[in-house]
Amino acid sequence: MLAFLLRRVIQAAAVLAVVGLIAFAMFRFAGDPVNQIVGPDTTVAERAQIRTDLGLDDPVLVQFVRYAGNVVRGRFGISYQFRQPVSQLLAERMPATLELAFCATVFALVVGILMGVYCALFRDSWLAGLFQAVSLIGISLPTFLIGILLIYLFSVTLGWLPSYGRGDTVRLGWWTTGFLTASGLKALILPSVTLGLFQMTLIMRLVRAEMLEVLRTDYIRFARARGLTTRAVHLRHALKNTLVPVITIAGLQLGSVIAFSIITETVFQWPGMGLLFVQAVQNVDIPIMSAYLLLVALIFVTINLVVDILYTVVDPRLRLPAGRTA
């Protein structure tokens, strides 16, 4: 068990080190950092001085160690566009992205599980057919197209919901939240649905398939034979056993939700990290790009690690030493 955990932690650290190396290579070699700082009338001598001050003449290995040391202390450099520390920019934008990702995941879980259960229990109803068709569209269509469609329906035509921004936010310490105002909550609806739709279809299909599988097993037949109500059999016995893989997938997908928020945030001009990243790519702002890459890698690796650990807690078979597994 301990050896397994240790191995996973070492693997996670290795992945982070590789991504760190890529981020450093981008930071150092894509474009000349000096050119991004100086103006057109800076003399050659001044450029050389800046180059020495930044430590760009040191051996690459020394530079990498220095970069890694800075990153660990949360120093990602200065943004070329905004002339502000990248860490500060990311910290300002992070609450918006995390709140959006949270709402999208909750939406995907709740609606996806409900639709999946319905499709499994009433396989041949027309509503189940409709859900299946919707899920096909949800998987096929690009995220930005779905976002535009929703904006056209609910903002342009019906005028019910705002099409961009977070609405009014409330500041709690360094965290800004849209959960506490009516306009903030309204602004969350369309982006959350857009971002969560793909996950929702995934969860719906998964729940449907797992439920159909479970409903065929002996213990369900036995539960029916014992005279339990249909509701108890379906919800307490069948649904409960389908939820383990669903939670796993939802957990693993949380990372993709944060990464895919790049697109949703652009469609809805949502002031989060994804929009910051897209603007950085458009304006070739390397410090923000490399910092964002590192941050996403950290989130992904952490989620994978936590899911692995939870697995060993939930499933006792994984705790047996190798060779004794049944």
């Binding site: 269509l141 535009i148 897209v278 070739v284």
Partner: protein
Amino acid sequence: MSGRDIDAGDAPPVPLVEVPPSRLARWRDSDLLANFLRSKTAVAALIATVLMVGLAFASPWIAPQNPYDPAQLDLINSNLPPIWQADGQAPYYLGTDDQGRDVLSAVLYGLRLSLIVGVLGVVTSGILGIALGLIAGYAGGAVDTLIMRVADVQLTFPAILIALVVDGVAKASFGSALDVGPLIGLIVVSIGLSFWVQYARTVRSSVMVEKGKDYVQAARLIGLSPPVIMVRHVLPNVTGPVFVIATINLALAIITEATLSFLGTGLPETMPSLGTLIRTGNRFLFSGEWWIVAFPGLALAGLVIAINLLGDWLRDALNPKLQ
């Protein structure tokens, strides 16, 4: 079925060695074709795909306007609605945008561009993935570990993020004012680098199975070199799954290009793909010119759904477990 009757009627009297049927006869006789004709969805998807590909590549001859030629645009004709609305004018059947560009022509040309970039992206990622998968599976050992570890690390990131990073880094290195030609190349490479992992994994696992078979041993015994064995003998036996991945990835590659263009890091507005057209049209959503964004969006959605349905059918048809 008729193929079989003809074959039976024309069969030569008692051949000494059984003559294998021709490729065409085998194809007409195959389960794959019968399965295809039985699936209404697959036939409809194929017809839709062929129709769109045909229209896209015929666009220079059938489109009323060349949208890449600024001389053909006239501001007097800007923001015209589609022909069935009150102010609609022929030949602008689907209306015009704010530059006086015909939406139908722009969609046809954009469809062609999206298809070209998508296919090139799939080919690039396929070649990269197949080559690395062959090498990893055939060589084994440290080479295998290295390639598959890189694949594992990459698989933890969504493809669109990798494509964006490759795109951004390349622009930082070469300067952001690239010509359209190199720009298309850059997008193709970004897509290729984002999607190679799946091919590599599939090919590798198939190669590891094939490697132990007699024909590979025989090829090795007669002294063929590993590259020849890999490409001439192992590769043809592992192509089935690769085609399925390629079909499904074509839809993904088209979506990736459209997304890059929509985010403003893809093709420019002077040479718009469907994604660029949607990006431009999105600005007019609130002023009521819905047709500027609706028709490129419909074209993209139709193309992607048709290709996805084909890919789904192909996956099920080639899966022996489902038969």
